[in-house]
């Protein structure tokens, strides 16, 4: 077995980047091994010196191969075959990082008298223009005797079987054919100033000097933090380059001031001077396994957008598929912004911070719409940005179970891309102008409160309660449904009337809700606020049966809905006055309920599991109800019929 002649100089001159070709797997000797790990952090790194008998070069062993050292397989002076390696330039010297190798045999003694290849070949000027950066083994070879690079039918002439200009290798599929599946294609290009650009896919922690050229696809708001170690501000961006890899970058402290205003979403810049670290997968949904941190020393330059970088990489799903998806997943949506809500401020329960939000209704050609909440800066811009129902692509929206199904923007969402120039967007635009989005079904129901209830397409039937096992899915979470039904019976004959006595205090904490009990001297005592009052407020509470053409169910009515049911604003206090306080007027009492019985409403109910002793029962209560608007119902029905 002999060492591959000229291997070291070939490797070192093959230029910066990743190399792995089946026709160049040189046999070299490891003439030195040295541990250079950091004992404090426990990291284990090994420096190697590789030799081909004539030259030696400095190298490192990839940590993934550390096992070969620990097992004793790699020994001093052993012969190895290098299958995959990377060249990094560190302070004008080339470092060969061995990524994949096979130990062939141990050996006694150093073969030959190798010299330092760096000195011999003088690699100081390595920022050469692209043509020199091509791997050596493709050029006419001046070395005598067996040359591995000529053996495989590679042309010994000019680089015939490499694709054309190095400035656009992305289209060159022959690169991919020649590299082993595990490596990224050898992509190399330069900016107009001749600085070599590293593809994001090839960034790694060993390389400190790199320049990437990428588009800012998302830019977050500035956030400040304050903890025991200090405080500061940060913002993050996601960069996408021509290799279709994206990476998350964070700017800290001074870098925020320097670069926040400069960087604009969708513009292309070159970036260098950042530090690479392993990505925090919990918060990072980019393709790259790394993240970059930039401080004020970073160098960023705006470059013209030559169009080789996509605006954004998306993985769209249809809104209808969100119904089945679990909450907390992130999705990309391409949808029409059907409507934009008002900007609202609220205090976060978790952090106590004030948050700004704005709700949008998004709809796509799956015929389903969903609520989307924009947070922060994006909320403010929403009304103007999304006017006129544009097609918008949203990235990394987080799905939640709130209000049925809804989604909201995350760090990775960016502002949403209006009318992206992709075929799906055009198709969606056409669908919208053809159908006007009339027949959409909503995944996001209005939560509680009065106001619009679900219209016909979103309604269920009473039977749904049993069929979909509503209330049983999750003991803590109630299910909601809306259906049209008729009241068939009201259980009004409770001792003392179909109401309970509530605290007269209308502010916090009672809000007239909490139960009071009568004291011996005729006053009313409230457990909640510990107050005693001469009077109380009566609030309706009774149950009844509601039916539609599919089934019947018991529901409970609370005060607000009961008042509506009994004829508008019929308060319990009022009925009590008229029928109970002075003398019992059963007929009058009954007449209120008789009026309400057999009336039609659209009911919105909450269905929840309740434990009564040993038994677990599903109980439904009415949270909102509306009288039927027959004209609107008819219109909805006509629509549904025409879509049938």
């Amino acid at each position: 077995m002999s060492l591959t002649h000229g291997a070291i100089s070939a490797m070192v001159r093959s230029g910066e980047g990743h190399h792995a070709t089946p026709d160049f797997q040189p046999t070299v000797q490891i003439i030195n091994i040295k541990s250079v790990g950091n004992k404090n952090t426990g990291s284990d790194r090994y420096r190697l010196i590789l030799s081909d008998g004539e030259h030696y070069c400095n190298g490192m062993l990839t940590t993934q191969l550390n096992g070969l050292i620990h097992s004793g397989e790699i020994t001093q002076d052993c012969l190895v075959r290098v299958d995959e390696y990377m060249i990094n330039k560190i302070q004008n010297r080339m470092l060969t990082i061995v990524m994949k190798m096979e130990v062939l045999q141990p050996h006694e003694g150093r073969i030959g008298e190798p010299n330092d290849v760096d000195k011999t070949l003088n690699m100081a000027k390595s920022t050469a223009p692209a043509s020199e950066a091509q791997p050596m083994y493709n050029r006419t070879n001046v070395q005598p005797s067996s040359n591995p690079y000529n053996s495989n039918g590679n042309s010994s002439g000019a680089s015939a079987n490499k694709p054309t200009s190095p400035s656009n290798p992305y289209g060159g599929s022959s690169y991919n054919n020649r590299t082993s599946p595990s490596s990224a294609p050898i992509i190399r290009t330069t900016t107009t100033s001749g600085v070599p650009i590293t593809p994001i896919a090839q960034l790694n922690m060993y390389q400190n000097r790199w320049t990437i050229k990428a588009r800012v696809t998302t830019k977050s708001d500035i956030r400040t933090w304050s903890n025991a170690r200090g405080e500061g501000s940060l913002f993050s961006v996601e960069l996408l380059d021509a290799s279709a890899h994206d990476i998350k970058c964070t700017f800290f402290k001074d870098a925020v001031d320097k670069f926040y205003g400069m960087l604009e979403q969708d513009s292309v810049y070159t970036f260098s001077g950042g530090r690479i670290k392993v990505a925090n997968q919990q918060y990072n949904t980019c393709k790259s396994g790394y993240e970059i941190t930039f401080d004020a020393n970073a160098e960023i330059h705006l470059v013209p957008d030559e169009g080789e970088i996509q605006a954004q990489i998306y993985d769209f799903v249809k809104i209808s598929s969100l119904e089945q998806m679990e909450a907390n997943k992130t999705v990309d949506l391409l949808a029409i912004v059907k409507s934009v809500g008002e900007v609202a401020n609220l205090i976060s329960k978790k952090s106590g911070n004030e948050l700004t939000k704005c709700d949008l209704t998004l709809v796509d050609d799956s015929g389903v719409d969903i609520n989307c909440t924009l947070w922060g800066e994006k909320a403010h811009e929403a009304a103007t940005k999304f006017a006129n129902q544009p097609v918008v692509a949203f990235r990394r929206l987080r799905l939640s179970d709130y209000g049925g199904k809804s989604c909201s923007t995350t760090q990775g969402t960016g502002g949403g891309q209006i009318s992206p120039d992709i075929p799906e967007a055009r198709a969606l635009q056409k669908w919208w102008s053809d159908t006007g989005g009339q027949s959409t079904r909503s995944l996001s129901s209005s939560v509680g409160g009065s106001g619009k209830l679900d219209s016909l397409p979103d309604r269920k039937t009473v039977q749904t309660i049993k069929m979909e096992h509503l209330g049983l899915n999750n003991p803590d979470k109630p299910d909601y449904l809306t259906f049209k039904g008729t009241l068939t019976f009201i259980k009004k004959d409770k001792d003392g009337g179909a109401w309970y006595t509530a605290c007269a205090r209308s502010e916090e904490p009672c809000k007239n809700r909490f139960k009071v009990t009568q004291t011996t001297d005729g006053n009313w005592f409230c457990d909640k606020c510990q107050g005693t009052f001469p009077n109380c407020v009566r609030r309706w509470i009774f149950s009844g049966t509601v039916a539609d053409d599919t089934s019947t169910t018991w529901v409970s009515f609370f005060n607000e809905q009961a008042e509506m049911l009994l004829g508008g604003n019929v308060t319990a206090d009022q009925v009590f006055e008229e029928t109970y306080s002075e003398e019992a007027d059963q007929d009058k009492y009954d007449s209120y309920f008789a009026r309400a019985n057999h009336s039609d409403w659209v009911f919105k109910c909450r269905v929840k599991q309740e434990n009564l002793g040993d038994e677990t029962r599903v109980k439904a209560s009415v949270v909102n109800m509306m009288p039927l608007d027959y004209a609107q119902e008819s219109r909805d029905m006509l629509q549904a019929i025409s879509n049938f």
Binding site: A631, S634, R635, L638, I641, S642, F644
Partner: protein, 116 residues
Amino acid sequence: MSEQPDGAYPRINGKILKSSEHANKIVSLVGNIEAFDGTSIQLKCADGVIASVQCEPDAEVMQGCMYELIGLANDNGTLQLFVSRELTPDMDMDIYNRMILDVQLNPKFSSYFLPA
């Protein structure tokens, strides 16, 4: 009268009446009374077409109100009134018309409108 099943009468609008499609059959016409002079009614139907309805002087109709008029369709495109039913003024004529055209007359749903 022809073999019209008992109690089964189609709902029509002005245009359908004038086309004499249901001549000599009992039909139902819904509309607003534009004019009533004792023996004839000008009825503005669901599709906006004014139809002519012959009636008795004691017909219980009032100008300006909405009615369902049931009677015999003549082959000259007019209606001979039998009975009238008053409807509330908030009846939406457009929806009614769409019901006639898109639903009742839709071949897809003809099976639903067959007499029992």
